[in-house]
Amino acid sequence: MKKNLSFATKKFKNFKEKSILIALGGVIGFLNGFFGGGGGMVCVPTLEKVLKLDNKRSHATAIAVIFPLSLISCAVYIFKGAISSLPLLTVGLGVLLGGIVGSIALKVLPSKVVRIIFAFVMLAGGVRLLI
């Protein structure tokens, strides 16, 4: 009887965790699609808190989670004619170059200073877009 009960609670816990994962996935997908990015901001903490992954693994896994979501979102953006090809090529080329440099710099730069600069730039951008 006791064994049965624990089995039932385990089953319930499992179900609860799945529901939480699906719901948070929905939030990640919506934000990432609506804002064209930023899904990682919710995905990384989700992986850390719910799936109990360490920081490094969470960051790496988040990319793999967001990839299919972005793929779908891209399809919608293209289908609705929101993307033109010329700026895509030039900006995309830059992103690729910068991305490679950034990944290398990750090992050298002090994260706290970069974080604060990053936060200031984001705040400035956010305020500028709002007004």
């Binding site: 699906i22 929905g26 934000l31 896994t61 779908i72 919608v76 953006y77 990053f118």
Partner: protein, 124 residues
């Protein structure tokens, strides 16, 4: 000149993305503010360039065994459905409205980022 700026902003966005801090949150506002792109175009470009970068990162991380698989299918399941809804909504909204929504989103994220830079309790 325009092309030069496009590449430059791409590099800056990619740089922060490579640092693992979300390049889009830098790239999208730069494209919209300084180059006058439609908010939807900026976001779409970010999505597409993320895909290319992500392929590279996933390949490298997978080789280092850093990608966990347990449970992530549930997140993806919920995510894919709402990704369609979110993207659709973004493409039908007027660019000016979407721009303001994005601005508010950035403000919230930047506050969270400040908190992350100064953690209250030490994490083990």
């Amino acid at each position: 000149m325009m092309i030069f700026l496009q590449i430059l902003f791409g590099v800056l966005g990619g740089f922060f993305g490579g640092l693992g801090m979300g390049g889009g949150t830098i790239l999208i506002p730069m494209l919209t503010i300084f180059l006058g792109f439609d908010q939807q175009l900026s976001q779409g470009i970010n999505l597409l360039s993320f895909l290319v970068m992500a392929l590279l990162s996933i390949w490298i991380h997978a080789r280092n065994g850093l990608i966990a698989t347990k449970g992530i299918l549930w997140i993806i399941l919920g995510g894919v459905i709402f990704a369609v809804g979110g993207s659709f909504l973004a493409t039908i909204l007027p660019s000016v409205i979407l721009k303001k929504c994005f601005g508010a989103f950035l403000c919230v994220l930047s506050v969270l980022e400040f908190f992350k830079a100064f953690p209250k309790k030490k994490k083990t």
